[in-house]
Each structure stands twice: as structure tokens, then as C-alpha cells.
């Protein structure tokens, strides 16, 4: 999996490419929490080029969402393939995680 990170002040945007599973979730968790230690309060995760997610990936996103909430920060997810979005819905994560159609929509959210 490739992770491209863009930083603008308190906002960090992560563009994910490939597969977020038990093999790659730890690396992503580290990048997310490093960004938060570096002062990121708001996070966008761009799923446009993400082909696959498993419960290991959901776990990292849940952990990051809870950590950001404690710091009064916010997380937004965008541009998911419909079958990736379905996983968030089955898990019930869509009820507390904002998922918007495009990266522009996500940027407007901050």
C-alpha cells in the first residue's frame, strides 16, 4: 500500500493506494499517529485509489477517530468505492464517521 501525506497547518490529508489489510494497517496507524503527535488536529483520508479494506483497516480508523475526538479534532473520509463504503456500513461505522463523495467536499468540511 502507498500512503501519500499532505500537510496544511493542522490538517493532514492521507491518500491511500492499494490494500489496507492486516499486512499494511500497522504502517498506516504509525503514519496517522505520527501526524497527530506532530500537531495534526484534523484528518482527511482519501479512499479514491484504495481497492481493499479489512477489519484491520477499520480498527486503525476507529482508533484514530477516538484519539482525534479527545483532542477536539475531526476526521473526514472521502471518495470511497461503493464496495469499500459497504464495509463501513456493515460495520456500522458510517453512523459516526462522516463519509463524503469527493476530496473537495472533504476540504470544504474544515
Amino acid at each position: 500500500m502507498e500512503i501519500i501525506e499532505e500537510k496544511q497547518g493542522y490538517l493532514s490529508t492521507f491518500k491511500l493506494q492499494g490494500r489496507l489489510d492486516s499486512n499494511t494497517s500497522q504502517a498506516f496507524e504509525k503514519r496517522l499517529f505520527d501526524a497527530m503527535s506532530d500537531g495534526a488536529k484534523n484528518v482527511i483520508i482519501d479512499f479514491k485509489d484504495l481497492d481493499y479494506i479489512s477489519s484491520a483497516g477499520l480498527r486503525v480508523i476507529l482508533k484514530a477517530t477516538k484519539a482525534l475526538k479527545r483532542e477536539d479534532g475531526k476526521i473526514l473520509l472521502c471518495a470511497m468505492q461503493d464496495y469499500v463504503k459497504e464495509v463501513f456500513e456493515i460495520a456500522g461505522f458510517d453512523s459516526f464517521l462522516p463519509i463524503v463523495p469527493t476530496l473537495d467536499d472533504a476540504r470544504k468540511g474544515f
Binding site: 492486516s22 499486512n23 477489519s55 480498527r59 464495509v87 456493515i90 460495520a91 459516526f96
Partner: protein, 142 residues
């Protein structure tokens, strides 16, 4: 693999084998003309079960083999996972309650909850010294 054939392969008890699983399934998807969504759902269900097996199924440090057998009959895909680990029935574990609240949301049991929602049937049998999981999914073609 055609409409009424099967494919069998073996995976070692290592997370790195998730890529092998993915490659094999892509071949199956192509041979059967599965839709991307259907292939994704089968891959995710097998990933969760495989990850479960290698995380909880073995109480030693030795290498183990998990056998995968995929067959199709018209519009039904059947996948059998077989391992020689300790008796472990993931299906029996109560599917977690989906909570709409962030603070109440726990991750335990999430994998098996996904499996139960992604395939049409999942069953566990202990056969001799082996755990056998059988998944059935109605095929959606592209």
C-alpha cells in the same frame, strides 16, 4: 476454472499469505467472470477467516498449512478452509452488535460480523483433527 470446476491451494500460517490469497482469488474472479464487488466480498470474508485462524488457531510456533478449496456450481461459489489448529469455531462467536455510537464502538468480533454479512452461508465443522469452515456465496457476474 470453468463454471463447474474447482481449485485447491495451500497457504502457510503467515499474514504475508494474504497476498497469495488475493492473487489466487483474482484468477478465480477472472475465470468465472465475477463482478468486482463479488470478488471483493469473497476476498474480504476469506481474509477475515484466515487472519482469525492464524491469530487464534495455533498454540505452537510451528508452520501450519491452511488448505483452501474453491468450487463453483452454476451461480453458487463454495469455499472450504481447512486447518489443523486447535478446535476453534469462529461462527459460534456472537456477531457483535453494531453500535451507532463512536464511544460504544468496539472492534472485537468485527471480522466475523463482516463475514456473516458478506457471504450467504458460513458453517463450521470439526472433522477429526481439523477445523473445516465452509462458505457459500451466490455469484454475481460482471
Amino acid at each position: 476454472m470453468t463454471d463447474k470446476t474447482s481449485l485447491a491451494f495451500e497457504l502457510k500460517n503467515s499474514l504475508a499469505e494474504l497476498s497469495t490469497l488475493c492473487e489466487k482469488l483474482e484468477g478465480v474472479g477472472e475465470a468465472l467472470g465475477l463482478s468486482r464487488r463479488c470478488l471483493f466480498e469473497v476476498n474480504l470474508a476469506l481474509d477475515e477467516l484466515f487472519t482469525n485462524i492464524i491469530s487464534y488457531g495455533f498454540d505452537d510456533q510451528s508452520e501450519h498449512i491452511i488448505r483452501v478449496c474453491i468450487s463453483s456450481d452454476d451461480n453458487l461459489l463454495t469455499v472450504v478452509l481447512e486447518d489443523d489448529g486447535i478446535p476453534f469455531n469462529p461462527v459460534e462467536r456472537r456477531s457483535r452488535k453494531v453500535s451507532g455510537e463512536l464511544e460504544q464502538c468496539k472492534v472485537g468480533g468485527l471480522g466475523i460480523h463482516l463475514v456473516k454479512n458478506l457471504v450467504d452461508d458460513v458453517a463450521y465443522h470439526r472433522c477429526g483433527e481439523k477445523n473445516v469452515l465452509t462458505l457459500k456465496k451466490v455469484i454475481e457476474k460482471s
